[in-house]
């Protein structure tokens, strides 16, 4: 890996910024250079939000991500917005429980995963993002699953530590249900 540029995009509240933060944190734990950039603006609950994550083994010169090799989308507008930006041969992760349009490009590795349905099966619709993250790690190996575990342990505040087992389960579920 020289440099991996990723975009995570969806509605506010779907945990898109958190997934990006986890990736960046795990990248840092691995001793890599990382950058995490949120969209900021007149966002509001239910509006679209995205973040850019860069993980590189040398200093990140420009932190701007205009050609990501990995894109994860949680809604239709996000797919429409970022599909064209993905580098040829790049990975596109789609929460197909929520996205009902098809990507137009044929030169991408498309992973359509019904993450919200899976999350409901696990008993908590909020972990759809973590399921997709599991799939992303399985497919791209951009960070190791161990460091995502470690990142979760370090990031989650004490009172949310009880969510750790569910998050682990969601990660594993995502890893084994990669398509």
């Amino acid at each position: 890996m020289e440099r991996s540029d990723m975009v995570i995009s969806g509605f506010g509240g779907q945990g898109v910024l958190f997934v990006g933060f986890l990736l960046a944190y795990a990248g840092m734990l691995e001793g890599n250079y990382v950058c995490w950039i949120p969209s900021y603006g007149v966002e509001m609950r239910g509006g679209t939000a995205h973040c850019f994550v860069t993980i590189a083994n040398k200093e990140v010169s420009s932190p701007i991500v205009d050609r990501p090799s990995v894109v994860m989308v949680f809604n239709n507008p996000s797919l429409e917005k970022f599909e064209t930006a993905v580098t040829p041969g790049g990975h596109l992760f789609i929460n197909s429980s929520l996205v009902d349009i098809e990507p137009k490009r044929s030169d991408l590795i498309v992973h359509r995963i019904p993450a919200s349905d899976y999350a409901n099966e696990l008993g908590n619709s909020k972990v759809a993002n973590i399921i997709l993250l599991g799939a992303l790690i399985q497919a791209t190996e951009v960070v190791s699953i161990d460091n995502i575990y470690l990142a979760l342990q370090e990031i989650l505040p004490e009172k949310k530590k009880k969510m750790l087992p569910l998050n682990y389960e969601a990660l594993k579920f995502g890893m084994s249900n990669l398509v």
Binding site: Y25, V34, C35, S61
Partner: protein, 352 residues
Amino acid sequence: MSKKLLKGNEAIGEAAIKANCRYYFGYPITPQNEIPEFFAKEFPRVGGVFIQAESEIAAINMVYGAAAAGARVMTSSSSPGISLKMEGISYIAAAELPCVIANIMRGGPGLGGIQPAQSDYFQATKGGGHGDYRMIVFSPASVQELYNLTKKAFYLADYYRIPVMILGDGFLGQMMESVEMDGQNDTCEPIPKPWAITGCRGREKQYINTLYLVPEELAELNDRLQEKYRQIKNSEQAYEEYYMEDADFVLVSFGIAARICKEAVDLARDKGIRAGLIRPITLWPFPEKAFADLTRAKNILNVEMNAGQMVEDVKLAVSCKIPVHFYGCTGGLLPSSKEIVNRIEMLGGTPK
């Protein structure tokens, strides 16, 4: 491991606490709200004082008061809010008081937008408020540098008794990078402040004042200020060079735009163009020393997220002996490295 994943805005707060700053007065404005948020949350733990003032003007005058009493103190805002603070900054400069002011710039003029920009260069480096004053202006380009320079800012403010501005932008303030908090050169230990207004029991009365009705006395203040500024110009210029050893095409850029320029230099070098970058870290004093010996340079391209505010400083630094071109964007848009390379090629930066 002592690395932390921090937003630029949070790094300012962490650095301030590390530098023993215990007073923050501010007023909310995007894109720097994580700074007051940080202090509101963290200061109670270390015995600091956080006040959300009724306005930016009130906040900067609280800074004036706290600095006069000898406290390490800071405020922060974003472009329109910094404009409101200008009167206070002029007073603080005249009173020769130390403080740190962070400006996480957004697009202007007027209320402008909330996306990142670098269009307060003139305001920060050429005065902004009234009178013949200067402040030290730091332009960090990474979250780590934001952390380091904020600490240094407190030290230099005390050392020279001068306001120091951290000039970042919305992009840098919002972005997260890993920050090494320990093992940095700690140039931030407190400096005794015998001039501070701390109550005069047992000593002579002393004053902090900016009103001088006798012209000679005001001239004396100005002479003293100018001497201080000369000293700072000699001692505090800071810059980074990137691939400058053999560069015949020189980019000049500060802050986040300079990061984009680094990528442009890499791309240009891939094409065989001998490009290099000078990145001013202090905007005032402008790092003239970086331009003193540019014998190889045939062209200079200045890249900024504004309409070309640094161009004249670059021209002065090279005494107009090398053509200085400009590429920039305004409104909160970011320059692209590919476009910068296009400009380099258009301007005759040819492969060797």
